[in-house]
């Protein structure tokens, strides 16, 4: 089945890029599901139903991956056949230092809640996140997948940090 073989950027008919337009993606998933959702085939043959279920699931999978920055970058690496040994670690000393400081901060915040400190570190991590995304973009433009992968690992940490801090703030 041709549809199932298309990569998700082709399926959604959008350019392969680190950024996607969220509302465009929301619109396109509706258009695609409006053609292929199983409910559109509920009085069809078993074969049609099975096919619709497969295609509709594939569309939702694409929607999930394209809609999430980490999954999307992983996917771009995958369709460029870049495979990296997952056990390889990040060897950026500055970054490791940053993460150690961060865990110390969270520990002290757990003992001693301070909303001002939380807000400050949230905005500084958000800034780091933005810089990382920018550098992923430029690596992608120069086809430097190795560097993209390195920065992707950092990105995962920053996102995790931000979620943790938000959780802490709302507690």
């Amino acid at each position: 089945m041709d549809i199932l073989k298309k990569n998700f950027f082709e399926l959604f008919n959008i350019e392969i890029a680190i950024d996607v337009n969220r509302s465009e993606l929301d619109q396109k998933v509706k258009v695609l599901q409006n053609k292929f959702h199983p409910d559109k085939f509920s009085s069809g043959s078993d074969f049609e139903k099975r096919l619709a279920l497969q295609i509709s699931s594939h569309i939702n999978d694409g929607y999930k991956i394209l809609g999430d920055i980490v999954l999307r970058i992983e996917y771009i690496l995958k369709i460029n056949n870049f495979v990296k040994d997952e056990s390889k670690t990040i060897n950026d000393i500055n970054f490791l230092q940053e993460q150690i400081e961060y865990s110390e901060l969270v520990e002290s915040l757990n003992d001693n809640f301070d909303s001002k400190i939380i807000e400050n570190s949230l905005s500084s991590i958000k800034f780091l996140l933005k810089t990382t995304v920018d550098s992923i973009k430029s690596s992608f433009e120069s086809n430097d997948f190795e560097n993209m992968w390195q920065n992707l690992s950092k990105l995962r940490f920053y996102i995790k940090n931000i979620n943790e801090l938000i959780k802490l703030r709302n507690k």
Binding site: M1, D2, K30, V31, N34, K35, G44, S45, N60
Partner: protein, 611 residues
């Protein structure tokens, strides 16, 4: 741009029109309705709200209005609110407030049952009796047999509860077109009536369950963004809270049965709207309740619902300023202070102008008419998975594989391997729920993969596909990829009935109606044959010349002629066989049509042209 119409041709023949219904199988009341340009509700003793009650006496089983009337009869076993234990194990219900009303015993494999007259009735049995009753009411009224039904379930129902509902329907001989989430059904009815677009919250507070869905409505597409809820929170809990308060404040009530006091509590609750206080007389004693006391009693329950609304909005990635309206659904939203409190808390419009009891059945009936092809409007409901799906890993932890609020249908593939040489079996425990520890979630059952070819440890690669369909129900399949063998999967439910138990129950119930079946089957196969012919002829007319060679067209036409001849006969098996053959031989054409349809999308049209 014309839409792909493989299965949904504009059938003009009236005999192709199917009799389909929407069923709201509620905790307290159920409704059954059909929709043909307007809503038609079927009644039981002139009431469209049909009590979800079964009363069993020595001689008879009463259902619905008659069963509810037998409430005071000492010789009957009165069974109400069965939905609260639907899909639960005996251990699950131990902390349920209303478990004492139901006289449950622990039956085989930890299944809770009600024992009456030396017979055991599970929640599936009782629900199927209610469904059969609803089916009879509609069929008697229309003098037609039901071809299919859309049945609503709480959005927050897990896989086991959904499956149990589907099994109850099968047991009562109902062909389930779709399980539909109650808030989504309500949104459909509301959206079509009001023609509104934007983002909405459905606050669905029923007799036994509470559901919230956040959705957007645009050009006939209803997209659920998030859903949350509590399947054990409803009007029942309010009645229980008032009952407790009554017993604490009026000592004379101590000699009354709890079920009786609960009735008084319920009428107090229903009388409180627009009043500052209310009193009633019980056997010469007066009980009264002020509005302030009432709010104090129900406040913990309402706060819980408001927290769930907040969570659902956060999960939807909207903020409360994006929400146009909160729409109230479910009988419990008749309590008037809910509206005021919601308005205050979320500062947006709260609508209670639709009948909260009927709107779910209304939406289900519309969806049934769409799915059957009776209704040609271009409407689509996109729903989400309510609870995350995970796999048990070492240390009793749940590793989530599909997160809640993921749009469905969705498929996920996980690859497993063996850890011993020559290992031939693999056991996967599938978990549903948000908590980290397996023991705090629901186990959907253990899937045992058998016939793994003997290899060294870590050698086999077993791809396991977790497929969630549009009903939110999981199915699992597995293939060993190094040999290409599909592994056999045996499912062991965590508790309750196995698949073969269900099959046997369905067989037993069908055997009793053997006689009508032959004629019915012939009619069904002829209708189905006509539908296939019509759909294929329409397709050939639309794009046959573009997608098929002359030989292929001739072949399809040959098959069509064969089927046309076959439906003039009286052998239903032969017709069914012929339908299968035609469908099989035109599969390549279906594939080509789907592929060509995606091509036209990719060729790029404006969204407005397509939707």
């Amino acid at each position: 741009m014309s839409l792909l119409q493989i299965s949904d041709p504009s059938i003009s023949n009236d005999d192709l029109k199917k009799f389909v219904v929407g069923i709201d199988l509620g905790t307290t009341n159920s409704l059954i309705a059909s929709y043909d340009n307007e809503l038609k509700l079927y009644e039981d003793n002139s009431s469209s709200l049909i009590p979800s009650v079964v009363s069993i006496t020595k001689e008879d089983i009463l259902i619905g209005v008659k069963a509810a009337d037998a409430f005071d009869d000492k010789n009957t076993t009165y069974i109400a609110s069965i939905k609260r234990i639907m899909g639960l194990s005996y251990s699950d219900i131990q902390n349920l407030d209303s478990k004492d009303d139901l006289l449950l015993i622990k039956s085989k494999n930890d299944l809770p049952c009600i024992a009456v007259n030396n017979k055991e009735y599970s929640a599936i049995d009782i629900s199927s009796k209610i469904l059969s009753h609803l089916k009879n009411l509609a069929e008697t009224h229309e003098n037609k047999t039901i071809d299919g039904a859309v049945i609503t379930v709480p959005a927050y129902f897990n896989d086991i509860q959904r499956q149990a509902t589907k099994n109850a329907a099968k047991l009562s001989g109902i062909n389930v077109l779709r399980l539909l989430n109650e808030p989504t059904a309500a949104a459909l009815a509301y959206g079509l009536e009001s023609n509104e677009t934007g983002s909405f919250v459905i606050y669905d507070f029923g007799g036994g369950t509470f559901d919230v869905s956040v959705l957007t409505l645009e050009k006939g597409i209803f997209k659920v963004l998030s859903t949350d809820g509590n399947t054990r929170l409803g009007g029942d809990d309010i009645d229980n809270a008032i009952t407790k308060w009554l017993v604490n404040n009026y000592s004379f009530l101590k000699s009354y049965k709890t079920t009786q006091i609960k009735k008084y509590a319920c009428s107090l609750k229903e009388s409180m709207s627009n009043k500052d206080s209310f009193s009633m007389d019980i056997d010469g004693n007066t009980i009264s309740l002020s509005k302030n006391d009432f709010i104090d009693i129900i406040n913990p329950i309402l706060s819980e619902t408001f927290d769930i609304v907040t969570n659902a909005i956060t999960e939807s990635k909207l903020s409360s300023v994006d929400i146009k309206n909160i729409i109230l659904v479910g009988g419990s939203t008749r309590i008037d202070c809910i509206k005021t409190l919601l308005e205050k808390k979320f500062s947006c419009g709260v609508l209670n102008n639709i009948d909260p009891d009927k709107v779910v059945a209304h939406g289900a009936a519309i969806q049934a008419s769409i799915l059957s092809g009776n209704n040609k409007e271009n409407i689509l409901l996109l729903d989400v998975l309510p609870l995350s799906l995970g796999i048990e890993t070492y240390g009793g932890l749940s590793e989530k594989v599909i997160l809640r609020n993921t749009p469905i249908p969705i498929k996920l593939r996980k690859t497993f391997t063996t850890f011993k040489d020559g290992q031939s079996k693999l056991l996967i425990n599938i978990i549903q729920g948000e908590r980290e520890l397996v023991e705090n979630c629901n186990s959907l059952g253990e899937f045992i993969l058998k016939n793994i070819p003997p290899m060294v440890a870590g050698g086999p690669r077993i791809d396991v596909d977790f497929q969630i369909d549009a009903d939110g129900i999981l199915s699992v399949s597995a293939t060993e990829t190094t040999t290409g063998n599909s592994s056999m999967i045996e499912v062991k439910p965590s508790y309750g009935l196995t698949e073969s138990d269900i099959m046997k129950m369905i067989d037993d119930s069908n055997n009793s109606a053997e006689i009508d079946m032959t004629l019915r089957r012939l009619n069904e196969s002829i209708v189905e044959g006509k539908r296939v012919i019509y759909a294929l002829e329409q397709a050939l007319q639309n794009d046959g010349k573009d997608l098929l060679s002359e030989e292929e067209i001739a072949m399809v036409n040959d098959e069509l002629e064969g089927l046309k001849l076959s439906i003039t006969g009286e052998d239903s098996s032969a017709i069914e066989e012929k339908i299968k053959q035609v469908e099989k031989k035109s599969e390549f054409y279906v594939e080509r049509r789907m592929n060509s349809s995606i091509k036209s999308f990719i060729a790029g049209k404006g969204i407005d042209d397509i939707l």
